[in-house]
Symmetry: C2
Subunit: 325 residues, 2 copies
DNA sequence: TTGAAAGCGCTACCAT
DNA sequence: ATGGTAGCGCTTTCAA
């Protein structure tokens, strides 16, 4: 390993000078700088981030905690975060929590132990002590809280929009799928949908689902049509489930959207690939990731007048599982 | 921040003793240990990984370099790696390269700068100098090389299997989609398929695709049916494209699998959700990730007699885009 | 069994 | 403009 000492020796200067040249602070003579740069070049030196981090008590690392990168919504968030953060020279320490408190605590702890400069978290366990004691900038992503900066989309409006769309397009017996109770955004959109449905002269039923996993999606879809065989409009808990419902509907011989309309949530990339393509409520996942990163960077720079709650717009993407006007 | 000094003071011992107690090496008296543990508990101390890492010249971090987590095949790999690694106390530094050499180099460099203990990489740029100069354990994932330990699946056999399946199931005018030229596994499966097709009395054509992105998948599918409208068997470059082909085929009124059979590659989770469900060649992505992690851990522990090339089996998953016998 | 102290690679203060 | 050096929090010799 080539260290700052080697560079100093090679350039015939002190380590202090090398350090100053490296970090562009303090005075460094023009030709001294040249010598240093030449030495760096020659030895192919690159500074040890760990030593820097120890001294500064801050690394160039950011901790990102997500529920499960295997769920197609989250990779988009992650890429948004990564792309934006890397422009500012930060790297990502990634953890999947599986919505499990212990895992989450462990990751938060290792983030801290590694001197991360900030944390971006999609957590449902904000009440936990560990977050209160955190001395670091924290941005919530896809989650809301009074107490912390957050980037999220308007779930309530999303739910309303989904319900309104189905109502306007003539669904008469709507089934509303409710996502896992412990996932906050799922509840928001559920509430939004309930609200809209309640104000309409329309029959509707609610089907509770307890997970977002691929494996169970088809199960929920089956259950849906068993319990509500004559439903003509489904508000799926997310796009995965929406796609599973398309599958199941087609399988039992229903026409989409003639017999049953379906609306998803998220607008994951594969929603445009199903047949028929899935109408859905779009969350701008990639942008949400970027916004969270930008917000975190502002927080780190301690900028003034930071907008700490960033609500991203939600949008209806009309594709082919809903009827044309 | 509470440091080892604070603990030492609280426990009335030296920092050396605390360190020994913490790491279970050297002698520590029974009641001394108790006092130390009590102090740790009381102060809620957890050791600074950065300081450790500086001294040891090794962190508990592993660098993971993937092409693009947004492609559904890779999150599976990543989770496999993460789950296995975290059992051994390692955490993940994640980078997406987008198959771009510069980004890749930057990530490898920051991995090194952060004292990672090892690297797992899905790269197509192994020839690059930076890999040769690497002093760290490196495991290739989903990639092959003479020179480095690697975990990959048998792409050639996968390609053969795909072609053989279509042939056996009676396809007469097969279209073989070729993945991006710079992606090694894509070429392997292409070669395997070509091999099998060449040995059969069968007409086939090749369609080159230059990306795996969602956005373009539908475009390739369209192109496929424009160029080869009477193809009755398609070997898709991966499941995304396979799903897009299902979409397109249905759209132009073809029956699946009567008019056209389709076989994908990867077996991503959503392949079981399309309608009809996609027959495909399965790569055990999650397990590949785990194996890579295990292999890396062995390398780190410098175990003897390590099997350095781990070829994972590939498997036909018969679903509904191929005919039943 | 315990403690003192050197040193991991770097930055920043204080001299010069 | 440059160099000497303390110190970031930890581990590990070496002595006691």
């Amino acid at each position: 390993m080539v260290t700052i000492k080697d560079v100093a020796r090679e350039a015939g200067v002190s380590v202090a000078t090398v350090s100053r040249a490296l970090n562009d602070n303090g005075y460094v003579g023009v030709d001294t700088r040249k010598k240093v740069m030449a030495a760096i070049e020659k030895l192919n030196y690159s500074p040890n981030e760990v030593a820097r981090s120890l001294y500064k008590r801050k690394s160039r690392l950011i901790g990102l905690l997500l529920p499960d990168i295997t769920n197609p919504f989250f990779p988009q968030l992650a890429r948004g975060v990564e792309d934006e953060l890397s422009r500012a020279g930060f790297r990502l320490l990634l953890g999947n929590s599986d919505e499990n408190v212990e895992k989450e605590m462990e990751y938060i702890q290792t983030f801290v132990q590694n001197n991360v400069t900030g944390i971006i978290s999609a957590t449902n366990h904000l009440d936990d002590q560990i977050y209160n004691e955190l001395k670091l900038p924290l941005v919530l992503l896809d989650r809301i809280s009074e107490d912390y900066p957050a980037v999220y989309s308007d779930g309530r409006e999303g739910g309303r929009l989904a319900a309104r769309t189905l109502i306007e397009k003539g669904a008469k017996r709507i089934t509303l799928m409710k996502g896992p109770a412990h996932v906050r955004p799922a509840q928001d959109r559920f509430q939004g949908a309930i609200e809209e449905l309640s104000h309409a002269d329309i029959d509707f039923s609610v089907l509770s689902t307890t997970s977002y996993s691929f494996e169970e999606a088809l199960g929920w879809a089956k259950e849906l049509f068993e319990q509500f065989p004559d439903t003509d409009g489904v508000i799926a808990s997310n796009d995965i489930v929406g796609i599973a419902i398309i599958h199941e509907a087609l399988k039992i011989g229903k026409q989409i959207p003639e017999d049953v309309q379906i609306i998803g949530y998220d607008d994951i990339p594969q929603s445009g690939l199903s047949y028929p393509t899935l109408s859905t409520i779009r969350q701008p996942a990639y942008d949400m990731g970027r916004q969270a990163a930008q917000l975190l960077i502002k927080l780190i720079k301690k900028e003034q007048h930071i907008e700490c709650k960033i609500q991203m717009p939600v949008e209806l993407v009309e594709r082919n599982t809903t009827r044309k006007k």
